[in-house]
C-alpha cells in the first residue's frame, strides 16, 4: 500500500535572535494508508514541529533544511501555495489539543460542519445538512439535529472535541494529524474519545499521526510508534516490539518512569530519568541523550554521529543507539520490585473530617437572577493519618480542589468539621488561625508557573516562611534554607535564581521545600505533578514519598491520575459531584468490590500496554451541573450498573467492609479472602 505521509531524513532549522537552531534532526518515518503512528516525547522534543511540518505550516523562522516530506507521494516542497492549500483542505486534517481554538465561537456547530461539503463542491444546502447530521451521529453525539443549532460554548469539552473530529472527517482526509487531542480532558472522556478514534479509523481508513506525551494513549490507538528526543527520532517500530522490548535507553527511561495502575501497591518505586534536556543537546554531533544516559561510552556515543540501527528481530524496529548490546544486558538485571508496603490502618489520626460541606452562592444580590447554590462539597467524611498518604481522586469539577482549599483555610467551609488536634479547621479561615496551626498545615500547588512569585528569588521564597512560621533570624534562616535545598536535592547555587530561570521540576521542588519549611504535620498537595513531564514527575513523586516517610508528615494528595495514586497512596477517597463515593485503604479500593464510578475510572485510565485492549466500561454523558439539587445517587445519570428507579430517588446507603466504605444501592459482595486482585494477576512490567 502506498504511504500517505513520508518523512525522509528531514531536518528543520529555526533562525532566531540567538542564531540558527536545529529543531528537528534527521527524522525519517512513514505512515501507510490506514496506519496509525504515535509520536511521543517530553515537552520541547519537537513533536508539534513534526505535525506542522507535515502540513507544511511551519512558524516564521523555521525552514526545512534537509530532507523531503511527501504527502500521498507528492513532495510538499514543490507545491505552489494554491496546491498546498488544496492539500491542507482536502487531504490532511488536523485536530489540536484545545477544541475551542478550532471552533468558531460565533457560528453554530451546524454551520461550521456544513461549510466543509459546501467548500468541496456540494451546492445543495440540504445535502450538506444531511451529511453533517450523519457525521455527528458517527462521532456518537446524541440528538444530532439539535446539536446542529448549538454554539460551541454550549457543549462540554468532550463534545467539542467530537465536533472537531467530525469536522475533520467531513473532508474525507487521507491523513489525520492529532496533536494531543485528549490532554485537557478527563480520563473517562478521554477513554471514550480514544475508543471513537479507534472505531472511526477502521471505518474511514484515514492514516493517523498521533502526537502525545502520554504513552498510555498511544498504546491504545497506534500500531507504530516513534520516540523523539531533542529533535531526533531515537526509536521507532511496531508498537508491541517497542513497548515489550524497548531498545533505546531513553525509551526504557520513559517506560519505567511511568506510574502504572497495575503496580503492586504503594512503594513500587518509579525510576526517573536523571538530568534534563539542555539546549546544547540539540546541537550535539553524537547522541543527544548521552549526557543523561547511564550506558554512555565517550568513544561511541559522543564523538561520532549515531545512526539508526535495527534493534530487534522484528521488522522495522530501529533505534539510534551505539550501545544496544550493553543496554539490553543492563536492563535485564535492573528490574527488581520492592515488596509492597502494608498500609498501617492504625497510625494515629491527624485530621478528622466529618460532614464537611461547601456551598457557593451565585447571583441573587444585584444580578436580578434567582440565587443559585453550587454544591461543591457535600458531607465529606475521612481521616488523614500521620506518616501516610491519602489520595483524593476524581474528575475535574468533582470538588477535590474545593476540599483542599477548605482544609487549608483558603476558603471557609459552609458546615461540618475538620479536626486537627484540638482545633476545628472548618471554622477557622487561614487569617484567623494561630501561628502554630498555620505552621502545622501547608500546601503544594499544581501549577509550577504560578507557585513561586516571579519577582522573588528562590532564597527569598524559602527564607520567608522560616522567619514567619518559625521565628528565625536571618542567619539561622540562611542555614536552614541550605538544609531544605539539600532535602529536595537542589544545588545551592540555585538560591539566587529567579523562578523563570528554573525548570518546571525545579520550581516544584522549591515549592515542596517551601511547604516543608515550617515543619508541618500535614501537607496538602493539589495535583503536584500533573503539569510536569513523565520523567520529571517520577522524580518529584519519589522525592515526596521519601521526605514524608522519613518525617512522619501526613499527606493529602489531590489527583485525577489513578496510576499515580496507586504508587503513592495508603488511603484513597474517590469523589464524584462533591461527594465521596468510595473511601478506604488503597489496596481495598483498587480491588473489587468497586463503586461503579471507581470501576469506570480504573477501566478508563490509560495503560502503557498495547495488549490491554478496549476498556471494559466506557462512561457516556457528562457530569451533571452541581447547581441542581441531587435526589438519589449523584452518579445515577451516568452509571452503567444502575439498578432501577431507586437510584434516582433514594440516597444510596453506605456499605462498609471494615474500614472500606462504598456508597451504592447495589448489594455488593464482600471481598473474597484469598482472591488476588486484578492488579496482582497482571503481568509485571518489562
Amino acid at each position: 500500500m502506498a504511504d500517505v505521509l513520508v518523512f525522509d531524513k528531514v531536518s528543520i532549522d529555526y533562525r532566531g535572535k540567538a542564531g540558527v537552531q536545529r529543531i528537528l534532526n534527521d527524522v525519517s518515518f512513514s505512515i501507510p494508508a490506514g496506519g496509525s503512528m504515535g509520536l511521543v516525547g517530553e515537552s520541547g522534543c519537537g513533536k508539534s514541529t513534526v505535525a506542522l511540518a507535515a502540513m507544511r505550516y511551519l512558524p516564521r523562522g523555521m525552514t526545512v533544511a534537509e530532507g523531503r516530506i511527501s504527502v500521498e507521494g507528492r513532495d510538499t516542497a514543490g507545491l505552489s501555495d494554491a496546491e498546498l492549500r488544496r492539500v491542507r483542505g482536502n487531504r490532511v486534517a488536523m485536530i489540536y489539543q484545545d477544541p475551542m481554538s478550532s471552533l468558531n465561537p460565533v457560528m453554530t456547530v451546524g454551520e461550521q460542519l456544513m461549510e466543509v461539503p459546501l467548500l468541496h463542491g456540494v451546492t445543495d444546502r440540504a445535502v450538506a445538512f444531511q451529511r453533517a447530521v450523519a457525521m455527528l451521529g458517527e462521532v456518537r453525539l446524541p440528538d444530532a439535529e439539535a446539536m446542529m443549532a448549538r454554539y460551541p460554548h454550549q457543549l462540554s469539552g468532550g463534545q467539542q472535541q467530537r465536533v472537531v473530529i467530525a469536522m475533520a472527517l467531513m473532508a474525507e482526509p487521507a491523513l489525520l494529524i492529532m496533536d494531543e487531542p485528549t490532554t485537557g480532558l478527563d480520563v473517562t472522556i478521554e477513554a471514550a474519545i480514544l475508543e471513537l478514534v479507534r472505531e472511526l479509523r477502521s471505518k474511514f481508513g484515514a492514516a493517523i499521526l498521533f502526537i502525545s506525551h502520554n504513552l498510555g494513549t498511544v498504546a491504545r490507538i497506534c500500531d507504530r510508534i516513534g520516540v523523539l528526543y531533542a529533535g531526533r527520532l531515537v526509536e521507532t517500530g511496531d508498537i508491541r516490539s517497542v513497548f515489550h522490548r524497548p531498545a533505546h535507553p531513553y525509551t526504557h527511561g520513559l517506560l519505567s518512569a511511568l506510574p502504572r495502575i497495575d503496580a503492586r501497591g504503594k512503594g513500587a518505586r518509579l525510576h526517573p530519568i536523571e538530568g534534563t534536556l539542555a539546549a546544547a543537546d540539540r546541537a550535539r554531533p553524537g547522541c543527544a541523550f548521552s549526557p543523561r544516559c547511564p550506558h554512555m561510552a565517550p568513544a561511541e556515543c559522543v564523538e561520532r554521529s549515531v545512526p539508526m540501527v535495527p534493534a530487534s528481530p522484528a521488522a522495522d524496529h530501529l533505534a539510534r543507539c551505539a550501545r544496544l548490546e550493553a543496554v539490553r544486558k543492563a536492563s535485564q538485571a535492573a528490574w527488581r520490585a520492592r515488596p509492597p508496603a502494608e498500609a498501617e490502618v492504625d497510625a494515629p489520626i491527624l485530621l478528622d473530617v466529618r460532614h464537611l460541606t461547601k456551598n457557593y452562592e451565585l447571583g441573587g444580590r444585584f444580578g436580578g437572577r434567582a440565587k443559585r447554590v453550587v454544591r461543591a462539597l457535600s458531607d465529606a467524611n475521612f481521616q488523614a493519618r500521620a506518616g501516610q498518604t491519602l489520595a483524593i481522586v476524581g474528575e475535574s469539577g468533582c470538588g477535590k480542589s474545593t476540599l483542599a482549599k477548605t482544609i487549608s483555610g483558603l476558603i471557609p467551609a459552609s458546615a461540618g468539621e475538620a479536626r486537627l488536634g484540638d482545633a476545628d479547621l472548618a471554622q477557622l479561615p487561614v487569617d484567623k488561625r494561630p501561628r502554630d496551626l498555620r505552621r502545622r498545615i501547608q500546601m503544594v500547588f499544581q501549577n509550577p508557573d504560578s507557585t513561586l512569585n516571579p519577582s522573588h528569588s528562590v532564597e527569598f521564597a524559602l527564607a520567608r516562611p522560616l522567619k514567619v512560621l518559625r521565628g528565625m533570624g536571618s542567619g539561622e534562616a540562611k542555614r536552614e534554607v541550605a538544609r531544605l535545598m539539600e532535602q529536595v536535592q537542589l544545588p545551592p547555587d540555585l538560591l539566587r535564581r529567579m523562578p523563570h530561570q528554573l525548570s518546571g521540576g525545579q520550581r516544584q521542588r522549591v515549592a515542596i521545600a517551601r511547604a516543608l519549611a515550617g515543619e508541618p504535620d500535614l501537607v496538602v498537595a493539589d495535583e503536584p505533578v500533573s503539569a510536569l513531564d513523565v520523567s520529571v514527575q517520577a522524580a518529584i513523586l519519589n522525592l515526596l514519598s521519601d521526605l514524608l516517610e522519613r518525617s512522619h508528615v501526613g499527606l493529602i494528595v489531590i489527583s485525577h491520575d489513578l496510576a499515580l495514586v496507586r504508587h503513592m497512596a495508603d488511603w484513597v477517597a474517590v469523589m464524584y459531584l462533591g461527594r465521596i463515593v468510595e473511601y478506604g485503604p488503597a489496596d481495598a479500593v483498587f480491588r473489587p468490590p468497586y463503586h461503579p464510578y471507581t470501576e469506570a475510572l480504573l477501566a478508563a485510565a490509560p495503560k502503557p500496554d498495547p495488549d490491554a485492549g478496549a476498556p471494559t466500561v466506557v462512561l457516556g454523558g457528562a457530569m451533571p451541573s452541581s447547581t441542581q439539587a441531587i435526589v438519589g445517587c449523584p452518579f445515577a445519570s451516568r452509571c452503567p450498573r444502575k439498578i432501577g428507579a431507586i437510584c434516582d430517588t433514594e440516597t444510596p446507603p453506605v456499605r462498609r467492609f471494615g474500614v472500606h466504605s462504598i456508597a451504592c444501592h447495589i448489594d455488593l459482595p464482600p471481598p473474597a479472602a484469598g482472591i488476588r486482585s486484578q492488579a496482582d494477576a497482571a503481568a509485571p512490567p518489562p
Partner: protein, 302 residues
C-alpha cells in the same frame, strides 16, 4: 481544567530551554544598556530625554546667556545668528538659554507630578483590587467620575481657585492621573491575587499589607514603568498647556508653555519664537513615548 498545557510549540520550547542568557547575571546598569541596544526605538527615546536632563542639570554652565537678560537692541534682527543660535524672543532674550533653563522647570515638575500620581494610584489600585467589594466600587466610581471631566477644565478650576504654583500643578496633575494608574495596578492585582504564591503567602499568615506590597506590587512593575513614561509625556504637554493659558509657573522664570504663550501673537512675524519652544515640548513628549514603546516591546519579548 485539572491539567495544564503540557506541550508547547517547538519554538517556544526552544526559548525556554535557552533561558540562561548572560544578561540575567548583569547589574542594573548593564541591564539598561542591554535593553537600549536591544530596542533602537528605546535608545532614541532615552537619548532625547537624556539630552534634556543634561541641559537641565548643567544649565548654569551650558546656557550661553542669562535667561532673563533683556536686550531690545537685538530685536532689529531676532532670527538665529552665530551669537544667538536659536535667535531671541520678543524682548530680546536668548531663546536657547531660556529653553535650557526651562528644561529645569519641566523636568522637575513633571516627574514629581507623575510620581505623585503613581503613589496615589498604586495605593488605590492595590486596595481596590485586593479588597474588592465596596472599597473597589467606591474607589473605581470616584475615579471614573474624575476621568469623565475634561482634564483641562479641572486644572483651570483648581488653579484658578488656589493660585498658580509648582505645588498646585503637582497636586492637580497627581490627582487627575491617579485613577488611570489605579486601573492598571488594579488589573494586575486582580490577576495576581489568585495566583498560588499569594495563596501560599496567606497560608503562612502574611498581613494584607505585606501581600499587597511584597507579593503583588513587584509584578505590576513592568506595565507600571511603561505607563509612567507615557504619563511623563502627557504631563509635559499639560504643563505646556497650563503655561500657555497663563496659569503655569509665574513669570519671569522661563517655562516652555509660557514662551509659546508670550510669542504666539507674533507667529506670522517672527515664527521661530513660537515654533522652537513647541519643538522642545514635542521632542520631550516623543522621547517619553519612544522609551515607553521600547520598554513595552522588550517586556513582551521577555
Amino acid at each position: 481544567m485539572t491539567e495544564a498545557t503540557r506541550d508547547i510549540p517547538a519554538a517556544a520550547a526552544y526559548v525556554e530551554v535557552a533561558r540562561a542568557r548572560p544578561r540575567i547575571k548583569l547589574g542594573a546598569l548593564a541591564r539598561v544598556w542591554n535593553l537600549l541596544s536591544y530596542s533602537p526605538i528605546a535608545t532614541v527615546g532615552a537619548a532625547i530625554i537624556l539630552f534634556w536632563c543634561v541641559c537641565a542639570i548643567f544649565a548654569p554652565w551650558v546656557a550661553p546667556y542669562p535667561p532673563n537678560k533683556i536686550d531690545s537692541a537685538l530685536l532689529a534682527y531676532p532670527y538665529p545668528t552665530s551669537q544667538h543660535w536659536l535667535g531671541v524672543d520678543h524682548l530680546g532674550r536668548d531663546i536657547a538659554s531660556r529653553l535650557i533653563w526651562g528644561a529645569r522647570t519641566v523636568l522637575i515638575v513633571a516627574p514629581i507630578a507623575v510620581l505623585t500620581a503613581a503613589a496615589l494610584g498604586t495605593f488605590l489600585g492595590l486596595l481596590s483590587g485586593y479588597r474588592g467589594g465596596a472599597a473597589d466600587a467606591v474607589i473605581m466610581r470616584v475615579g471614573d467620575t474624575l476621568l469623565a471631566f475634561p482634564k483641562i477644565i479641572l486644572y483651570l478650576i483648581i488653579i484658578a481657585k488656589f493660585g498658580a504654583s509648582a505645588f498646585n500643578i503637582v497636586a492637580v496633575i497627581g490627582v487627575t492621573n491617579a485613577p488611570i494608574i489605579a486601573r492598571i495596578v488594579r488589573a494586575v492585582t486582580l490577576d495576581v491575587k489568585n495566583r498560588d504564591y499569594v495563596a501560599a503567602a496567606r497560608m503562612r499568615g502574611e498581613s494584607p499589607l505585606y501581600i499587597m506590597l511584597v507579593e503583588i506590587l513587584p509584578n505590576a512593575r513592568g506595565p507600571l514603568i511603561v505607563d509612567l513614561f507615557l504619563r511623563l509625556g502627557y504631563t509635559t504637554i499639560a504643563i505646556g498647556v497650563l503655561g500657555f493659558l497663563g496659569v503655569g509657573l509665574p513669570p519671569p522664570d522661563p517655562d516652555w508653555g509660557g514662551m509659546i504663550k508670550e510669542t504666539y501673537g507674533m507667529l506670522f512675524v517672527w515664527p521661530h519664537m513660537t515654533i522652537i519652544p513647541s519643538i522642545a515640548i514635542s521632542s520631550l513628549v516623543i522621547g517619553c513615548n519612544f522609551l515607553a514603546t521600547g520598554l513595552r516591546e522588550s517586556s513582551v519579548d521577555g
